[in-house]
């Protein structure tokens, strides 16, 4: 039974990872990051259930808080960039390397 959840969490994680690599707009990338974190949270809870040790459930609480902070900062940075460039597509935002 629990192996279904394992595959689900691995699927969510891989989906998020692929999304962060292949998506072209920043909001989607942030959403995919959240998807990754969701997959990992599920896996942490699953592992806690499988081993009977609660420590990894503790990590999940911190993960939720921290990924919320990360997304908040990411969004504010996107807004800061949008004000200058009027775009959120990664292809249009390549200033440094040129």
């Amino acid at each position: 039974m629990s192996s279904i959840y394992y595959y689900l969490s691995a699927f969510l994680f891989c989906l998020g990872l692929l999304g962060t690599i292949f998506k072209k707009d920043l909001i989607s990338i942030l959403l995919c990051l959240e998807l990754m974190m969701g997959g990992v949270s599920l896996l942490m809870i699953l592992m806690s259930r499988a081993t009977g040790v609660l420590e990894s459930q503790l990590i999940v609480f911190f993960m939720i808080i921290i990924s919320a902070c990360e997304v908040a900062i990411g969004l504010s940075l996107i807004i800061a960039l949008y004000r200058k460039k009027q775009t959120i597509y990664t292809d249009d935002i390549k200033i440094i390397t040129e």
Binding site: L33, I66, G74, A80
Partner: protein, 488 residues
């Protein structure tokens, strides 16, 4: 039982001091925000607080290593020494931000507050003893770094740097947590010491699961120290951020990451096991690649700041090489390297920052003929560049020598050869700036306001350790080595 928990708080004074300092500075900042004149009190408070933290760390030195707060955190001489180095780096960056024009006047105090916040994260990472504190340390370092990289609000390059840093950081943290959850699933504890006990008793299937998990686990930390597969963010962030921020990034997160990595390696892989062979092999490959990629890419750069960014990648590679030795000699070599690296980096970035403030960019040509205008500063830059290359009798030579010696003692000849060859490559671009400063005619006769008497004095004072550590290194090493440097 509950009182035992609090009884350990005496060993945790430096972190508590820093936290109080950060909160106090936030209060001071909101009070004096509008007042240009009173802002210097904030700086004075910050410097006093950092010096007090340094003193508290010094008082912690030499004590017996112990795990506090239910084994969540380890206080030992190794982490204390690296924390002291990090505090020194922070003081340097804070002083640089005081006169640098790269940070907006109204945001300078915020820079100080965020620097202290990142330092707290670095402390946490340097003495983390379970997965949770390790993750918290990395994230405390990262989240404030994203904001700090985009400190120049009106410059889109700075915003882009911050955003890149945030996205890379999020992905690598996700990878690290994915690895962590597998490690936890196989071993059943998040305590590092508990994991270390389990590592020699694993079955082949468990090892097959754990090997990729440790690879994923390395992603989080490798991103923090900018080792090769995860180094792509580093030059862009270093170039886009304001120079004081770059100085800070080159020192504190990198050293904190190295400290965390040394601890993981030394605790998990103390006993021979297939996992240890896999990990050491991985580290050898990553270290050689990090050095080579950093050095080779640095050759083509036009901007000195970007060149220093790539060179800092290669220095991380050298520190990784010292890490795979995994005995006290190697770890001591890494610590010594970290100490010398801080002083060399600070001096180089100070001079680059001052020149950049004057001309608006930091291309190599801006340094031409610097020796005719500011002979003292040009000599200091030359000394630091020689030291970064690793020429005797300077500190950089001794640091590299120690690492190569420990590599040869443990028969890692190939990595020692790679390190030696890389020093030769790095000589090209380090000495290029010396050649431009000395042999090219100067572009103009303007005075650079940043090189006032006080700043020149500060730069000279920071160069003195580069000389003295190069000559009296045995004393320093024995002072650091008398106390048992390591953990369990």
């Amino acid at each position: 039982m509950h009182l035992n928990y609090l009884a350990n708080i005496g060993r945790y004074i430096p972190e508590i001091l820093l936290t109080i300092l950060m909160v106090g500075l936030i209060l001071l900042e909101t009070t004096y925000k509008e007042d240009e004149k009173n802002r210097r009190y904030i700086f004075i408070t910050a410097i006093i607080g950092l010096v007090a933290t340094f003193a508290a760390l010094l008082a912690n030195m030499g004590g017996k290593a112990e795990a506090i707060f239910s084994n969540a955190i380890v206080i030992d001489d190794f982490s204390t020494l690296l924390k002291m180095v990090m505090v020194l780096g922070t003081i340097g960056a804070v002083y640089l931000s005081r006169f640098s024009r790269d940070v907006y006047e109204s945001l300078k105090t915020e820079f100080v507050i965020m620097a202290i916040g990142i330092l707290i994260g670095g402390f946490l990472l340097a003495s983390a003893n379970n997965m949770l504190t390790f993750y918290l340390g990395i994230e405390t370092l990262s989240i404030l770094s994203y904001v700090m990289a985009s400190l120049k609000k009106n410059d889109e390059r700075s915003s882009e740097a911050g955003l890149k840093y945030a996205l890379y950081g999020g992905i690598s943290a996700g990878l690290m947590l994915f690895g962590m959850s597998h490690i936890f699933g196989v071993i059943g504890t998040i305590q590092f010491t508990g994991i270390a006990k389990m590592v020699p008793t694993l079955s082949p299937v468990q090892i097959a699961i754990l090997m990729p998990s440790f690879l994923l686990f390395f992603a989080g930390i490798g991103y923090k120290i900018a080792s090769v597969p995860f180094h792509m963010w580093s030059p862009d962030v270093y170039e886009g951020s304001p120079t004081p921020v770059t100085t800070f990034f080159a020192i504190v997160p990198k050293l904190a990451g190295i400290a965390g990595l040394v601890r993981i390696t030394a605790i998990f892989f103390a006993v021979d096991s297939p996992l240890k062979i896999g990990w050491v092999g991985l580290m050898i490959v990553i270290s050689a690649l990090t050095m080579t990629v950093g050095n080779v890419t640095a050759i083509g750069q036009k901007s000195v700041k970007r060149m220093l960014a790539y060179s800092s990648i290669s220095h991380a590679g050298i520190m990784l090489a010292g890490l795979i030795v995994m005995n006290n000699v190697g770890i001591r070599a890494v610590v010594f390297y970290a100490i010398t690296y801080v002083f060399m980096t600070l001096v180089a970035f100070y001079i680059v920052s001052i020149v950049q403030d004057k001309y608006g960019n930091d291309n190599f040509d801006r340094f031409s003929g610097l020796i005719y205008r500011y002979p003292f500063m040009a000599v200091m830059m030359t000394v630091v560049m020689f030291s970064l290359t690793g020429l005797p009798p300077l500190a950089g030579f001794v640091a590299k020598y120690n690492i190569i010696q420990s590599l040869i003692n443990t028969r890692n000849y190939s990595l020692a050869v790679v390190l030696g060859l890389n020093s030769v490559v790095s000589a090209y671009y380090y000495l290029k700036i010396v050649r431009i400063m000395v042999l090219k005619p100067q572009e103009n006769n303007e005075t650079i306001e940043g090189f006032g008497f006080l700043n020149q004095m500060v730069i000279v004072v920071m160069t003195i350790p580069v000389f003295t550590l190069g000559i009296f290194w045995e004393t320093v090493m024995s002072w650091a080595g008398n106390a048992k440097l390591f953990i369990q």
